[in-house]
Amino acid sequence: MSEAVSRSRPKYGVMRIVDVMHYRLPLPAYVSILHRVSGALMFFALPFILYLFEQSVTSEYSFEYFRGFVSHWFMKLVILVLAWGFFHHFFAGFRHMQMDVHVGLDLPTARKTSAAVFVVSLLLTALVALKLFGAF
């Protein structure tokens, strides 16, 4: 192969963020990237989650403090985001293991199961939102 040909050839491989933005991703790709995002989110929030758990369980005083702490609207929002992360990661992970045993690998089924991940996780998140912001 000559120099000129190899130099004019477009480079493939690692994409930059600006390249990614132009891509219209299929639904399973959104499930996949959000699986990663939600996992990273929970990883970074781990000490905060443990702190909340500590306050809720250590003593009756800390329990009351916990109740006050999580009644703030911003904390409710943080907890809601973490709840979404958990639900999405849970059901996307379930879908992963289902594909590990070669179930639903064909495109139409993969689209349906990825839609199911969104529907179930977002419905449960909505339920948590209603509970947090006092609808029931």
Partner: protein, 121 residues
């Protein structure tokens, strides 16, 4: 790979552990999923929605142990996942190695914190 993987070219970061971590990620996920279901069932079948009821659950030694086993599963699961993320997006080896080390420290510290919380109830 074998010939190139010697001396200064030796691979020091990456998921070159084959099947083990893949399986570990799945098994730890199952452990956490089962724990979630157990916790939810215990929570929603509880008769006493109070501090006493909630802390009473974690006061049992068997439940502390199950919870801590789940925390350790989470540690390993999160390690595999975060390592995958660093490997995909962080290319300079020194930066990646540092992030790997920090990830391990972060997770081990979190597990220690969880143990401290659990055995104080």
């Amino acid at each position: 790979m074998a010939k190139e993987n010697i001396g200064p070219k030796r691979l020091v970061v990456g998921a070159h552990y084959g099947l083990f971590d893949f399986l570990a990620q799945r098994i730890t996920a199952l452990v956490m999923a089962v724990y979630t279901v157990v916790l939810l069932v215990l929570f929603f079948t509880a008769t006493e929605f109070s501090y006493q009821g909630w802390a009473g659950l974690f006061a049992n030694q068997w439940f502390k142990l199950i919870t801590f086993a789940t925390v350790l599963s989470l540690l390993y699961h999160a390690w595999v996942g975060m390592r995958n993320i660093w490997m995909d997006y962080i290319k300079p080896m020194a930066v990646r190695l540092t992030l790997h080390a920090l990830t391990v420290l972060w997770l081990v510290a979190c597990a220690a914190y969880a143990a401290q919380i659990l055995w104080r109830v």
